[in-house]
């Protein structure tokens, strides 16, 4: 397990290194004349050159990368051009808000999708399975801004159950916060439901057909125990692994959902940075999101290895 963990950590390091080089290349090299972009098309050529010089843009590329990454590691993530504040504290503050939203969404998603997948997988082809599969297909096909709009129309404006703009009252109770975040969180749940449901369902199907399940039944175990001890444990394994990959969709969904519901998280910050062409802020947010996403993937892999005795034992040596 230790060797596996170390190997995965090494891979994480490589991933983050390549990702940071990529972010650097896209944000620092692709745009071309940064001084011209900042100062606009009517600025004096000499002013542009002076700014480029002061930003260190005339240095060799490798040097500039190390300069940038050294700053990043020391907590200097640059200055946002549109908001005029340091990037790191802003990104972290917004990120914690997104985390609250994501946590609420995942807390609703997991029981819903796994429960539905287990129920559908127990009787494949039955009425419940058919209904859930069609619902899952429909939900999986709708971009989050479409489901978000539908949620706003039905639950926000029609029934007036939840506020249509995500709000977090500063002195509110936990329930008030949850109430305020309900619509965007539901939107994320609908975005991720289809895939997770499908994975759980197919995991259930293969576990129910497996030899160990037949053996458990033949030795006379009650059906409840067969399900709990043998089927569920194996059926949920693939679900754990895809959960890590689904976090990428969750982050992408955050960009759209937070913009739609005007929620001040990292997603809407990324969107604002993109609309305002605020490159330092964009680079910082992307870096943070990518790092967290990679860490979450690592965590999912480690949990999978812990849960699966075959992998665990193979890794023990």
């Amino acid at each position: 397990m230790l060797r596996y963990t170390l190997r995965r950590l090494g891979m994480l390091g490589v991933t983050l290194l390549v990702a940071s080089v990529l972010i650097f290349l896209i944000t620092a090299v692709l745009p071309g004349d940064i001084g011209r972009i900042i100062l606009g098309p009517f600025a004096e050529e000499s002013a542009v050159r002076a700014l480029n010089e002061s930003l260190g843009l005339n240095d060799p590329l490798v040097w500039r990368y190390f300069d940038w990454i050294a700053g990043v590691l020391q907590g200097d993530w640059g200055q946002s051009m549109s908001l005029n504040t340091p990037v790191l504290p802003l990104a972290l503050e917004r990120f914690s808000r997104s985390l609250a939203l994501a946590a609420l969404a995942v807390a609703m998603l997991l029981p819903l999708a796994i429960g539905a997948g287990v129920a559908a997988g127990r009787r494949p082809g039955g009425p419940l399975d058919r209904v859930l599969s069609v619902v899952g297909l429909g939900l999986g096909a709708m971009p989050e801004f479409v489901t978000g709009v539908l949620l706003i129309v039905v639950l926000g404006l029609g029934l007036d159950w939840f506020p249509v703009q995500a709000t977090t009252p500063a002195d509110g109770s936990v329930w008030a916060v949850i109430h305020g975040l309900m619509l965007p969180a539901l939107c994320l749940v609908l975005l991720l439901f289809a895939y997770l449901f499908r994975m759980t369902r197919s995991g259930m199907l293969s576990a129910l057909e497996a030899d160990y399940t037949r053996t458990a039944r033949l030795k006379g175990l009650p059906e409840r125990l067969v399900l709990r001890r043998h089927v569920l444990r194996n059926a949920l394994l693939p679900t754990v692994t895809v959960m890590g990959a689904q976090l990428g969709w969750l982050v992408g969904g955050l960009v759209v959902v937070e913009s739609l519901f005007r929620y001040p998280g990292i997603g809407s910050l990324l969107h604002n940075a993109a609309t305002n062409k605020d490159i330092p802020l964009l680079a910082g947010c992307t870096l943070l999101v990518t790092a967290v996403f990679s860490l979450a993937n690592l965590a999912a892999d480690l949990v999978y290895a812990l849960l699966n005795p075959r992998v665990r034992d193979a890794l023990a040596d």
Binding site: M11, L30, L137, F145, V251
Partner: protein, 272 residues
């Protein structure tokens, strides 16, 4: 042809999916004849009129006919999605073949690089690239294609891994064929089944992604009747004229569902 007709009758999902997509392809292709009005013409009807016989899907805040805009909007989606998927397919297949065929350290390096690229959430990577490159239809195609390439490369690699060990590959090499010739002319045709399924899945996601980018204001630019743009620009009308948002929103959902039905049908046929 006979196998096609048989699979259409065997798999109703495939048929329904093809029909759903074909409706949009045909109306988009013949938009000037099908659409009752110009898509960007303002004031062809009253402002925010509810759906009626004159304006089937109603009108928006500028008095534009929403039905015509939705029909013309299909042109953007149905040009961007296949073009970007094709780009991703070509690029991804070449990378995947190279990794599977090269094996050893080359395989390792390529896969680690792809892992790193896939560490970015797709929308975030597209956002980053489009901000820097500027938003144009061509850039949207390029960015979606590039973002999809690693995913397709993975499928291509795992399908090709078993193929490259087969004897026909060695035979071709012994005949004196070059590496690229063997990869593209010998191995690639043998993995086209899984690649077709993967490409169809990606088509649906490409529709999804291009609509999302349009919604975020980084894809096709207004006043073009792109569906994502239409949802975003009519957002404020939700209370007064919900049809202006619902029509393009449901159009997106219909096309994505169509593509995913086709993908499911193809996968079932592949597994038989």
């Amino acid at each position: 042809m006979r196998s096609l007709t048989r699979s259409l009758t065997v798999s109703p999902g495939l048929t329904i999916g093809l029909l759903m997509v074909m409706v949009w392809v045909v109306t988009a292709a013949f938009a000037p004849w099908v659409a009752p009005h110009e898509p960007t013409a303002m004031g062809v009807g009253p402002q925010t009129a509810a759906p009626s016989w004159g304006y089937w899907f109603g009108t928006d805040q500028y008095g534009r006919d929403i039905l015509s805009r939705v029909i013309y909007g299909g042109r953007y989606v149905l040009a961007i999605a296949p073009a970007s998927t094709l780009l991703g397919l070509i690029l991804g297949t070449l990378i995947g073949l190279l990794a599977a065929y090269g094996r050893g350290w080359l395989d390792e390096v390529i896969m680690r690089l792809l892992d790193a690229i896939m560490a970015f959430p797709i929308v975030v990577l597209a956002l980053l690239a489009l901000t820097v490159l500027g938003s144009s239809t061509l850039n949207v195609i390029l960015v979606i294609g590039l973002v999809f390439a690693p995913l397709i490369a993975r499928t291509a690699r795992s399908a090709a891994l078993t193929e490259v060990r087969k004897e026909y590959v060695e035979a071709a090499r012994l005949r004196g064929e070059g590496h690229w010739y063997v990869m593209v002319m010998e191995v690639a045709p043998n993995i086209r089944g899984p690649l077709m399924v993967e490409a169809t899945i990606r088509l649906g996601y490409a529709v999804f992604t291009s609509a999302t980018l349009g919604f975020l204001g980084l894809g096709v630019q207004p006043p073009a009747p792109d569906w994502g743009v239409m949802v975003s620009s009519s957002r404020s009308l939700l209370t007064t004229a919900p049809w202006a948002v619902l029509a393009p929103a449901l159009a997106i959902a219909a096309v994505v569902i169509g593509f995913s039905l086709i993908a499911d049908g193809l996968r079932d046929r592949e597994q038989q």
